[in-house]
Amino acid sequence: MAWFNRTKQNIEDQQSRDMPDGLWTKCSNCGEITYKKQLEENFYTCPKCNKHFRIGSNQYIDLLMDEGSFHEEATDLVSTDPLHFVDEKPYTARIAKGMRDTGLRDAIRIGTGTIEGLECTLAVMDFSFIGGSMGSVVGEKFSRAADISRQRRIPLVAITASGGARMMEAAISLMQMAKTSVRLAQLAEARVPYFVVLTDPTTGGVTASFAMLGDVTLAEPNALIGFAGPRVIEQMTKKKLPEGFQRSEFQLKHGFVDHIVHRKDLRRTLSRLFTLLPVPAKSQEIASNGLHARAEA
C-alpha cells in the first residue's frame, strides 16, 4: 500500500518531450501556445515561428503518401543481440523498451505507395527508437527499399532522422554504412532516382552514408545535420560553435543541400521532382533507340 493516494485526477505527470501529447502545445522555441488540432493542420510546425517539431514515421506517412496507398514491407524484421552487448543495461532491454515506448519494431519503416498519384518507395526513420540508430535491421530494411525501387523502377525517398550507427551492434552497425552504400550504387547503376529529406537530427554514420547520397537532397528548416555531434566538436576543438552551426541553412550555404523545404510543401515538392526527374529507360534501350526510348518506356 502506498503511504498516500493521489486524490486529484487533474494532476498530470510532467513530460519533457519535443512533441507533447496534451491538447495544447507550447512551442519550445517561441513559447506560442497552439491547440493540438491546429498543430496537426499546420503539419506539426509552429504557426508563429515556423519551428518544425520532431515527428515520427506515422506522421510522415500520413503527410506524404496518398491516403491508403502505403503498403508497408519487411514489417517482421527485429533486432537481435549478436554480440551480447551489455552496458548499463543489456541491449535486449533497450530493444524491448524501444518497442514498448514507440510501438515500432526498429528505427526505420519501408514500403511503397503513391505521392500525388506517383509511385515511389519510402524509407522513413524514427528518432524515438534508440535515437534512430542504424543497426542490422535499419541497414537491411533500407537495402530492401533500394532493391524494390531498382526492381520496379520507381523513385526512392528517404526521410532521415538518426544519431548514427548503433553502438550495441559495434562493427556490424558500422558495416551497414557500407551495405546501404552498395545498394545505392546498384540503384545508381540502374539509373533510378533517389531523393533524401534530411530532418532533425541527422548525424553520424547515417549522414556519412545514405543520407548524403541523394540525387536531390532536401532538408526541413533548422534541422541539425552533420557528421560529428556538436558536443564532440566542442570538446575536441575547445571552440564555441557559431550560431546556426550544422543547421539546414548552414548546409545549404556550404553546398550540401539542394533545398530547404517547409514540411507543408514536402509532398508537392517530391511529386514535382518525380516528374522533373523521371525514371529513364534502361541504358541498353536508350543506347539502341536514343532518348525517345524514355518516352516509350
Binding site: D76, L77, V78, S79, T80, P82, L83, F85, V86, D87, E88, R105, S136, V137, G139, E140, A165, R166, M167, E169, A170, A171, I172, L174, M175, Q176, M177, A178, K179, S181, V182, R183, A185, A188, E189, G204, G205, T207, A208, S209, F210, A211, M212, L213, I225, G226, F227, A228, V232, I233, M236, T237, K239, L241, P242, F245, Q246, H254, G255, F256
Partner: protein
C-alpha cells in the same frame, strides 16, 4: 630501447634490461649460461603475456607510438613509391597519404591514414584524423587506379575522421559517404588492411573493398572504447568494459565474418619488430591482390556487393 612502455610490457622490459646489463659484464665474468636461461625466460614471458591480452590491452598496442604507420610500411615493403598530393579542390590533407607504388613487381595505388610518431609530426598529421579533403584525395587516387587498371591497397589507422568546425563546413559526412558509394563500384580490386586503429566512419571512408585483413594487434569498430564509455556509461572510466562489449579485435571481426584474415604480428608486437611485421603484411597482402587481379571485373564487383549484403543479424517476429 622503446621510449614508451605499456604496463603489461614492463616485466618483459625489466628482464631484457637485466640481460643487457649482464651482457655488458660477460667479458669479465663467465655467465653465458645464466644469460641463456634468462633469454629463454623472457621469451616464455613474452609468449604468455601476449597470449592473454585483454581487448583493452590490444587497443593500447594498436595505439603504441612506436608502432609502424603507413609511411613506415611503405618504406619497408615498397620497391618504389611516389607520393601524390592534394584533392584538386581544396588542399592536401597530411592525415592521409597516397601514391603510386610497386611491391614485388606489382604496380598499385597505395593509400593510408598517417599518424605522427612525436608531437611535432602529430600536429602536422592531425593525429591521423582526416579532414574531408583527405577522403577526396583518396577518392581521386582510387579513380586514378581504376582508370589505369591498378589494384588499390589501403592501410587503415585512425581514431576517427576529424570532428572540427571546418571539417563540417567542408562536408565531412558527404566526403565519407561519397567514398563508400565509389568504393562499392570501383572497377578494380581493393584490399583493406587495418594496421592500427579503425574507428568508425573515418576508417571505413578508405576501408571498403574485396578483402579486409587486420593486423593481429589492431582494432576496428563503430566507435573508440573511451567514447563508447562516455556515451553509454556516461563516464570516461569504463573503457575496458566498453572494449570488451564492442568486441573490436581482429579475432572478433574474423568471428563476425567481417574480416577475412588476421596478419600475425611478431610476439611482442609490431612496435618491437617493425621489419617482421612489414614482412608479414606483405606476405598476406600480395597473394590477395594477385588472386583478385585474376578475377573477371564483373565477378569482382558482384562478389564485393554480396560480401556487404551478407553482413547483418536479425530475426523475424510474427
Amino acid at each position: 630501447m622503446a621510449k614508451y612502455v605499456l604496463e603489461f610490457e614492463r616485466p618483459i622490459f625489466e628482464l631484457e634490461e637485466k640481460i643487457a646489463e649482464m651482457r655488458s659484464m660477460s667479458d669479465q665474468l663467465d655467465i653465458g649460461d645464466e644469460i641463456e636461461v634468462l633469454e629463454q625466460k623472457v621469451e616464455r614471458l613474452r609468449v604468455s603475456v601476449y597470449e592473454q591480452l585483454t581487448r583493452w590491452q590490444r587497443v593500447q598496442l594498436a595505439r603504441h607510438p612506436d608502432r609502424p604507420y603507413t609511411l613506415d610500411y611503405i618504406a619497408l615493403i615498397c620497391d618504389d613509391f611516389i607520393e601524390l598530393h592534394g584533392d584538386r579542390a581544396y588542399g592536401d590533407d597530411k592525415a592521409i597519404v597516397g601514391g603510386l607504388a610497386r611491391i614485388d613487381g606489382i604496380e598499385l595505388v597505395l593509400i593510408g591514414q598517417q599518424k605522427g610518431h612525436d608531437t611535432k609530426e602529430n600536429l602536422e598529421r592531425n593525429f591521423g584524423m582526416p579532414n574531408p579533403e583527405g577522403y577526396r584525395k583518396a577518392l581521386r587516387l582510387m579513380k586514378l587506379a581504376e582508370k589505369f587498371s591498378l589494384p588499390v591497397l589501403t592501410l587503415i589507422d585512425t581514431q576517427g575522421a576529424y570532428p572540427g568546425i571546418e571539417a563540417e563546413e567542408r562536408g565531412q559526412a558527404e566526403a565519407i559517404a561519397r567514398n563508400l558509394l565509389e568504393m562499392a563500384r570501383l572497377r578494380t580490386p581493393i584490399v583493406n588492411v587495418v594496421i592500427g586503429e579503425g574507428a568508425s566512419g573515418g576508417a571505413l571512408g578508405i576501408g571498403m573493398g574485396d578483402r579486409l585483413l587486420m593486423m593481429e594487434n589492431s582494432w576496428y569498430s563503430v566507435i573508440a572504447p573511451e567514447s563508447c564509455s562516455n556515451i553509454l556509461w556516461r563516464s570516461w572510466d569504463y573503457k575496458e568494459q566498453a572494449a570488451e562489449a564492442l568486441r573490436l579485435t581482429a579475432r572478433d571481426l574474423l568471428e563476425m565474418g567481417i574480416a577475412d584474415g588476421i596478419i600475425p604480428e611478431p610476439v611482442g608486437g609490431a612496435h618491437r619488430f617493425p621489419a617482421q611485421a612489414a614482412e608479414a603484411l606483405k606476405g598476406s597482402v600480395l597473394p590477395a591482390i594477385r588472386e583478385l587481379m585474376g578475377l573477371p571485373l564483373e565477378m569482382l564487383i558482384e562478389r564485393r556487393h554480396e560480401r556487404y549484403a551478407s553482413i547483418g543479424v536479425w530475426t523475424t517476429a510474427g
